[in-house]
């Protein structure tokens, strides 16, 4: 994480806490710092405080404690309309009594920008989202995807440096979502704007972001680029929340120079990378991605530990095969294999042996 130095920070949360009712902390000790031009996604289960963080940044909620800074100055006491932050709402919030062009003109009018300049900017913003033909329509005469494009154009038309988006694609179907994901990322990079994006769709988070902050219960569990988040989850919550994951419970037997030996509850021993276990005898949850499990012994390192497994179910999914196994007493151990010409299709009942590279297997908190 190279971007944490405070002098380069554009958006900063420092020890921010938020409580709505004076009883529960919805946001607990949030520290976050974003450089200019970054695309950061807040990902987390429902109720984990993502929207709250965004609202504090936009100025619609005040932090109970702590400091929020934008470009180095504290914005705690600046009202929302002076923050100059663009915002895209989940339900679009396009003003129904104005046409598309009037919606886009609104932020420019309140900034007292002249008519010709206004028109030029509206034209450019609509061009960015390929919606120039729809300037005269009312929002209700647009499809969901078109409305979302207009909402995006409206948030960008006054050229804010920071744009916040709260689940902007939540209401759209999968295909449209993927198109728009691509368009939003491209626009953000082309314009060089800083984006804070909220979603609870992990694919969206992984494909779009420079960095992802995984929220749980008012805390950031891990803040990392997508690949690290997926491959090197720092705790079992992140490991389970991002992608599919096999977990086996066990106990640490030995930790030597970067590898741990874990005795699974079935009695087998495996090698793993100790992530947040430190003591011998600690309970641990071992996590392995389904696509990193190997059935072909020849591909494993010599001396690598293997486990016996029984095939329970074979599912053909087109590009991949998904096989469910019984491993070390657990019935929902899944492996994914590529549909390659030489790939064997396992039949239920077959006994096989599986193994993996030690660095793919991470020993996390129980």
């Amino acid at each position: 994480m190279a971007n944490t130095s405070t002098d380069a920070a554009f958006v900063e949360f420092e020890r921010v806490q938020k409580s709505y009712d004076g009883v529960n902390l919805v946001v607990k000790d949030l520290n976050l710092s974003m450089p200019r031009g970054e695309f950061l996604t807040m990902l987390g289960p429902s109720g984990s405080g993502k929207t709250t963080c965004l609202m504090m940044l936009a100025g619609f909620e005040t932090a109970t404690h702590g400091d929020i800074r934008l470009g180095g100055t504290s914005i705690n006491n600046i009202p929302p309309h002076k923050r100059g932050i663009g915002m895209v709402f989940q339900n679009y919030a396009l003003f129904p009594h104005m046409t598309v062009a009037e919606n886009l003109a609104f932020p420019l009018e309140v900034r007292k920008i002249g008519k010709s300049e206004r028109e030029e900017k509206i034209h450019r913003a609509l061009g960015m989202v390929q919606m120039n033909d729809f300037a005269g329509r009312r929002p209700t005469q647009l499809s969901g995807g078109q409305q979302q494009r207009i909402a995006l154009a409206r948030a960008l038309v006054f050229e804010p440096e920071l744009v916040l988006m709260d689940e902007p694609l939540g209401a759209l179907d999968k295909q449209l979502r993927e198109t728009l994901q691509f368009e939003i990322t491209k626009l953000a990079h082309d314009l060089g704007i800083t984006v804070v994006y909220v979603t609870h769709d992990q694919t969206e988070a992984l494909t779009m972001s420079d960095r992802v902050a995984v929220f749980e219960n008012g805390r950031i569990q891990q803040l990392a680029p997508p690949d690290q988040l997926y491959e090197k989850p720092e705790n079992s919550f992140v490991a389970q929340f991002i992608g599919e994951n096999n977990t086996l419970m066990g106990e640490v037997k030995e930790i030597t120079n970067g590898t741990a030996v874990v005795q699974l509850d079935g009695g087998d021993l495996i090698d793993a990378v100790p992530v947040n276990v430190s003591k011998v005898g600690e309970r641990t949850r071992v996590s392995i991605r389904p696509e990193r499990v190997e059935m072909n012994k020849e591909r494993l390192m010599p001396g690598a530990k293997t486990l016996k497994a029984e095939v329970l179910e074979f599912i053909y999914m087109g590009d991949i095969f998904r096989t469910r196994l019984r491993v070390a007493g657990s019935d929902d151990f899944v492996i994914k294999t590529r549909n390659a010409p030489d790939q064997v299709r396992l039949t239920p009942g077959t006994q096989i042996e599986i193994g993996w590279l030690p660095e793919d297997c991470r020993a996390l908190d129980a």
Binding site: P80, H81, A93, F95, H97, F106, P107, V110, A155
Partner: protein, 555 residues
């Protein structure tokens, strides 16, 4: 069966399973369904028809109905039709005669005063003419009766008359009988269809038409309205008068027996009948002027625009339409005042209600519920109580004045006059109608998501701009719905202006109530009501054109 069906489909109408054409059996099934549905809504439908449509229809009808003149003075109206009021000449003698006979019958049936008050709406003073004439109309007839009875005592006996006029074994003139039934029925607003044994003799009707007619008129009246047998009773004095008048020229040669004997004796009676114009002018000299005649003629048609004209301070004169005299022009002013005050009340309700509705829509639920109870609280109190409370508050010795005097803001001698004027009406009605403004506004505001305001602010709008450019336009349908409701309610409001309005703060509805219960000019009341209805519909139409009724949301 299915085979047969298919064949039928190819070369003829499709048949249902029982062989009837499919179309007909479908129609029957649908009719049954519709019938059942109709039965379900029937109670409401009947209720609405009886309590809403029918009264409104009858009100509309009453505002143009005017058959009282033609029903009370049928002959006069008919004969007067050819008279030219502008010629400056009095009507012909025949008109006077018809008037004498019509008025006599009307006075006997006690309907002449009603006609008098009807015509008095058009020409004040005329009702006393009718009352006066009703009292004196039988003087001449009484003299005639006395003269006849002293000469031929048999005429003292009702049975003599009956035997003279009744058809008995002769041919009866049933046309005359039914015409007189109609005449008496219309005069008395009844059907006059009761049973009676009497039928006028066709022979007598030929020889003595006026007498027979008058006797039949009386007999019908006696039998159907009074429920007495005409066979044994004396007829109206009008009948002897008619007899004496007709005998002067009648040819009795066609008669035989008792009838001929009696009438020949009566023909010998020397009773001088002055021209009816003089008789009437004697009763009241006004009959000798053009005025009453032209009033009757102008307003004799069965339907009239007169009530509507009166409702807008105009009247129909023989020369055409004209304004009422200056001192009688109050209704237009009252309409104007009603409209303007209703608008002021509506505006006050908008100004006072908007913030409350906004709070209702935006406060947390618990507080909003409390506020809602406060808004609805007035509904749980009687309207009269609330209005009277305003009387206590606003009167010169009332709470507000007392406080102002106590504070030294107002001199004790110059206490503010806040009641029994327009101010009082506006204050009390604004208070009473406020919930009708708040509730529709609230239900519309509730549907405006708070994210619009947030979006506006995030786009750089100040609180005021965000409200004015984003929130307010979306709450307009609520304002519209509330305004229509309050305006329509207030334009027809009665109780509150009646109690706190004094003379200057009353509405047109108070005038309508006055005409219904005090002056009994129902036609004018109906015309005023119809105009009120039309104004409301017109405003509704305008609103629909400007704002669009689809944009009105009540909830």
């Amino acid at each position: 069966m299915s085979n047969a069906l298919n064949q039928d489909a190819e070369n003829g109408p499709v048949m249902a399973a029982d062989g009837t054409p499919l179309k007909r059996s479908l129609a029957r099934a649908l009719r049954r369904q519709k019938g059942r549905a109709l039965l379900l809504i029937a109670p409401l439908l009947i209720f609405v028809l009886v309590t809403f449509i029918v009264p409104i229809g009858s009100m509309l009808f009453r505002s143009v109905e005017n058959d009282i003149v033609a029903n009370t003075l049928p002959d006069t109206v008919q004969r007067l039709a050819s008279w030219d009021a502008t010629s400056g000449e009095l009507p012909a003698e025949g008109v006077y005669e018809a008037m004498y006979y019509d008025l006599f019958v009307a006075a006997e049936a006690k309907r002449h005063t009603r006609l008098g008050s009807r015509l008095n709406y058009e020409e004040s003073g005329i009702s006393s003419l009718f009352r006066q004439s009703g009292r004196k109309i039988d003087d001449l007839a009484k003299d005639a009766t006395k003269a006849l009875e002293s000469a031929v005592p048999a005429f003292k006996d009702g049975e003599t008359w009956y035997a003279l006029m009744n058809a008995g074994n002769d041919e009866a003139n049933s046309g005359l009988l039914s015409a007189m039934r109609g005449r008496i029925g219309r005069l008395n607003d009844s059907s006059a269809s009761g049973d009676m044994d009497f039928a006028p003799s066709a022979l007598m009707a030929d020889i003595l038409p006026l007498t027979t007619r008058s006797y039949t008129e009386w007999a019908v009246y006696e039998a159907t309205e009074e429920g007495r047998d005409p066979a044994t009773r004396d007829p109206w004095e009008l009948v002897p008068l008619a007899l004496l008048q007709e005998l002067k020229t009648a040819d009795l040669s066609g008669l035989t027996g008792t009838r001929a004997e009696l009438l020949t004796q009566a023909q010998a009676v020397n009773f001088d009948i002055p021209p009816y114009s003089e008789v009437l002018a004697d009763i009241d000299p006004e009959w000798g002027t053009i005025l009453p005649w032209e009033t009757i003629q102008t307003h004799s048609s069965k339907y009239t625009a007169g009530y509507f004209l009166n409702a807008v301070d105009a009247q129909k004169t023989p020369e055409g339409y004209a304004w009422q005299p200056e001192d009688k022009q109050i209704l237009l002013k009252l309409f104007g005042r009603t409209l303007i005050m209703s608008m002021i009340i509506t505006c006050s309700c908008i100004l006072l209600g908007y913030p409350v509705a906004w709070l209702l829509a935006n406060l947390p639920t618990a507080k909003a519920n409390l506020l809602m109870i406060l808004v609805l609280l007035p509904f749980w109190t009687s309207l009269l109580v609330r209005t009277s409370a305003w009387k206590v508050m606003l009167q010169q010795q009332g709470v507000i004045n007392d406080v102002l005097v106590w504070l030294g803001l107002v001199d004790d001698a110059n206490r503010l006059i806040m009641i029994n004027n327009q101010f009082g009406t506006i204050v009390a009605m604004t208070h009473i109608l406020l919930p009708f403004m708040i509730l529709p506004m609230y239900s519309v505001m509730q549907t405006v998501p708070p994210s619009y305001l947030r979006a506006a602010k995030s786009l750089g709008a100040t609180n005021w701009t965000a409200f004015w450019r984003v929130y307010f336009p979306q709450s307009i349908p609520g304002i519209g719905a509330g305004s229509i409701l309050v305006f329509i309610l207030s334009i027809g409001y009665y109780i509150t202006p009646e109690i706190v309005g004094g003379t200057k703060g009353v509405f047109i509805s108070n005038r309508i109530a006055y005409h219904i219960s005090s002056s009994l000019n129902w036609g004018l009341a109906a015309a005023l009501g119809s105009i009120l209805l039309a104004v409301v519909l017109l405003l509704y139409w305008c609103y629909d054109r400007i704002v669009g009724i689809d944009n009105v949301k009540l909830g």
